[in-house]
Symmetry: none
Subunit: 371 residues, 2 copies
DNA sequence: CGTACAGTTGAATCAAGCC
DNA sequence: TGGCTTGATTCAACTGTAC
């Protein structure tokens, strides 16, 4: 499973491995412009003070690990600046980053992302379906965490599997608020004492959605705060390559064992719905060439207001306007643009049908018998 | 309605008025430590570029006003620093602030709040039930905005009406994600041409919840970006005092007219509006009346530890405790509160099921046949 | 007086490829 | 890098008119 891949003649990329040490140093040792996605779940800088007890007086096992202690906002900002800078260097120009945090740290991360030139695409709310209640009744139940999705730069052509996410959401656009349960039950890793192995283990469903949305199979996903390896486990399942960095030896061991057990899904189940743009392009003229529309035939607009005549070269004429199906539609509507395929209709057996139906027929044939 | 109130011998406070001019200057003219709550909806610094058209080629009426133009992040940060500093000076030591923003500006506001010594209590997600879709299918539908609730300092004894919020949320703790519709329909103020009077008018339901949660009647609420006066309208309804600051004369006029028309709720209707629930309330007694549960039937707790007997009047008895399903559950568990709907279970055909199932059945019926 | 249907709209950092 | 061509893309709620 472990592999070393050459990247454009640069130094090797340690795929599907968990590296020890400081994440900034490790990232700086990797070649620049080599990673497709960074997912980062850095320490939240919680600054908890006393112990917290539940109404039944049991103690809440809160995050009080040494790695979550920062002396000041300035120290946390330095830390954030350093690891984000290192992450940005190794990202491909069209790469993207996801960070997750709570109100303790996410505002500082978001501001620093913008300062460094990352381009924020969405902030996403992970709405926990089963959050910890607020035992003291002094605030609102803190029932969500915030993720930020940003491309390396404004001009990046980032990956977004729009149709796949739409499918995940019963056929309507995926929103920026995601309802997912926190990590519990069998998924929650325990140590030999039965205590949770890591205080902030993220659910695999969250990483699953992120990777389906913003990576393709074979992409390299780097996680600089690997913890118990949720990113690696999901990457392996989904046929992505991962690079993990984790300072704590104990976490590396847990993660290694965990990922070994994971099986990759079969290829078929990994295929996601493609965007319409990736479908083969069909010139309108082909409909005339094939005899699906006759030269001289009259098309009508979807709103019935206009009509235009088909010419032998695949252009339309209406009054004094002529040109492509898109140009003529736009001109008649006085609109800046127009999708002629869904705008123009023809008549068959008394019914009025958009010409896009004919394009779909051609595409179907192309799929059955490629060339 | 307009009044001037002396504050501990300091200069006067211009209550229930809309002041013109720059909000920093106006705030600096007010006495320090004099305001209970600041609500601020500052420009979001959207930096939009070209026009955006819908699939039907209609143009999206986006925010392109001069007041939302900043030359850089640095300029926006200066602006944020200045108005937050002025707001903090006039806040009482136990005062608090709410700010609202999107991913364009909220990270910068959140970081600056922390830098100035405000103590963040919650970040709250306003999940829009009817957001604008993403027309190009290039990102997630931006379906939420973020609010930050912070006290003036860590030591502040801020106001939080825990029980009122709990009532608003069907008897369970209010979470940090609020589902509310955007401002449309009759609530949306129009100008003489029928266009929206202000591009970013907030719904009154949002301000209603904020003021019920974090102010008491008679408190002074200041809004430095008053716009069309949603804060003032809701404050008047709820018996709070407001101070508005708005630079644009046109908005001040609209807001003045709007607030004149608002009538303060009488005490009784205040109670009603405070207990408004999104789903119809079903009293436990109705389950008994309807024969879904028999008097004398024994309910068991979710954890199997306790049992209680149903009485004809819709109360429970267990050992020496009697009362509502919530009270008895809380008493037995030694907990401050208990959601009896999910805590108590009954048996049907050998299975143990929470009584909430029965409530859901009733609600479903109510939806089918209102009344 | 309801119901059905067509039309409108909301804080948006919103295209991609070729020459 | 800029201009031109092609052509991809929408959900929920409210409003007004027709029936």
């Amino acid at each position: 499973m472990k592999t070393m891949t050459k990247v454009k003649g640069a130094s090797a990329l340690p795929l599907n491995q968990i590296m020890g040490g400081d994440c900034v140093e490790v990232m700086n040792s990797l070649p620049e412009n080599s990673v497709d996605l960074v997912f980062a779940d850095p320490p939240y800088n919680l600054q908890l003070k006393g112990d917290l007890h539940r109404p039944d007086n049991s103690k809440v096992d809160a995050v009080d690990d040494a790695w979550d202690q920062f002396s000041s906002f300035a120290a946390y900002d330095r830390f954030t600046r350093d690891w984000l800078k290192a992450a940005r260097r190794i990202l491909k120009p069209n790469g993207a980053i996801w960070v997750i945090g709570s109100y303790h740290n996410v505002f500082r991360m978001g501001a620093e992302l913008q300062n460094q030139g990352f381009w924020i695409l969405n902030d996403v709310v992970w709405r926990k379906s089963n959050p910890m209640p607020n035992f003291r009744g002094k605030r609102l139940t803190n029932a969500h965490e915030t993720l930020i999705w940003a491309s390396k730069q404004e001009a990046s052509k980032y990956t977004f599997n729009y149709e796949a996410l739409k499918s995940l959401n019963e056929g309507v656009q995926m929103r920026s608020d995601w309802v997912l349960p926190i990590c519990t039950g069998h998924e929650r890793l325990k140590d030999e004492n039965g205590d949770k192995a890591h205080p902030t283990q993220k659910p695999e469903s969250l990483l699953h959605r992120i990777m389906v949305a913003t990576t393709n199979p074979g992409d390299v996903v780097l996680d600089p705060f690997f913890g118990t390896g949720t990113t690696g486990a999901v990457a392996k399942k989904l046929g992505r390559e991962f690079i993990g960095i984790e300072r704590e030896e104990a976490y590396r061991q847990v993660a290694t064992k965990r990922i070994e057990k994971v099986r990759k899904f079969d290829k078929e189940s990994l295929v996601v719905s493609a965007s319409k743009r990736s479908e083969p392009r069909v010139p309108f003229g082909q409909l005339v060439e094939r005899g699906m529309l006759r030269p001289g035939e009259v098309l009508t607009s979807l709103n019935q207001r206009y009509s235009a005549k088909v010419r032998a070269d695949g252009t339309l004429v209406a009054n004094d306007v002529k040109g492509s199906i898109h140009q003529v539609g736009a001109a008649l509507e006085g609109a800046p643009s127009c999708n002629g395929w869904t705008y123009w209709c023809f008549k068959r057996e008394g019914k009025t049908v958009p010409i896009d139906l004919l394009r779909q027929q051609i595409r179907a044939e192309m799929t059955e018998r490629p060339n």
